[in-house]
Subunit: 129 residues, 2 copies
DNA sequence: TATCGTACAGACAGATCGTCTGTCTCACAA
DNA sequence: TTGTGAGACAGACGATCTGTCTGTACGATA
């Protein structure tokens, strides 16, 4: 049976992280940021990762500039949401609520966290009224 | 670079799902549930998956019975929590809060959902008082 | 026009993962 | 006790994924 490939690979994610930080970057900048050096082969590697990310509509490339300028299309929050939906599909028949419950029950939620969460909920109540 | 293998594989997860439903099962029962038939090779496949799950401490095997009875050690909620932590590590520097925010902001959270979530929060307030 | 960095295509190797084959062992019936 | 069928276990294979590299074409700058 065909294994389901991960939509965003580890190496691809590293590239995305830099783009999220910088906003926009060239291959050279990305390579140096990621590998702390910039050889020919490393550049090609990053180039390939960008190519794949472009194919996945996660990154866009400005071909009018030289060298090309790359920037992220996919926002960090969108990726988070996508990942959450994926785990929900795998483990909760697509329902997001069980994830919420799990998160809230997990330790590491301070009183302030709870308070700000209540704020968010109130906000939602207002919006849908 | 070594790719990071996924802790629980798709096929392994399918086995776990059945165990979560049934509570306990033999290889034969699992195979029939998963593949709707029970050939020699399919049985071996399930056997191998169980072996790997056992190695990962997700499943335990009762060797006193014949055939062996298998049951899940890892609970569904625990796996959910683990998955959430994994995405948090990849995308939020380990912080769970951003996930919460994402989830709450996502559509598909009804008024009742919000209300029950408030209940959960109140519960937590009580506990930590 | 020579040179250097970038773009692009293609390929490769290591690893993962689902699957299968083969052998041994156990329980049960004849 | 022995034969039989199902399960346990070990090992291996092959498709696929994924990070990386090589090779070639292209574009800009001196």
């Amino acid at each position: 049976m065909a294994r389901t490939p991960q939509d965003i690979t580890d190496a691809e994610l590293n590239v995305l992280q830099v783009l999220w930080d910088q906003g926009t970057a060239t291959v050279r900048e990305l390579t140096e940021k990621l590998y702390r050096e910039c050889t020919l082969s490393l550049t090609a590697t990053v180039q390939k990762l960008l190519e794949r990310l472009e194919g996945k509509k996660c990154v866009k490339r400005d071909r009018k500039t030289w060298p090309h300028q790359f920037s992220a299309i996919l926002k960090r929050e969108e990726l988070i949401a996508r990942q959450l939906q994926t785990t929900a599909n795998k483990l909760c028949e697509g329902e997001l609520n069980p994830l919420l419950t799990c998160l809230v029950k997990a330790k590491g939620l301070s009183a302030e966290d709870r308070q700000s969460l209540r704020g968010l909920l109130d906000q939602l109540d207002m919006d849908t009224k």
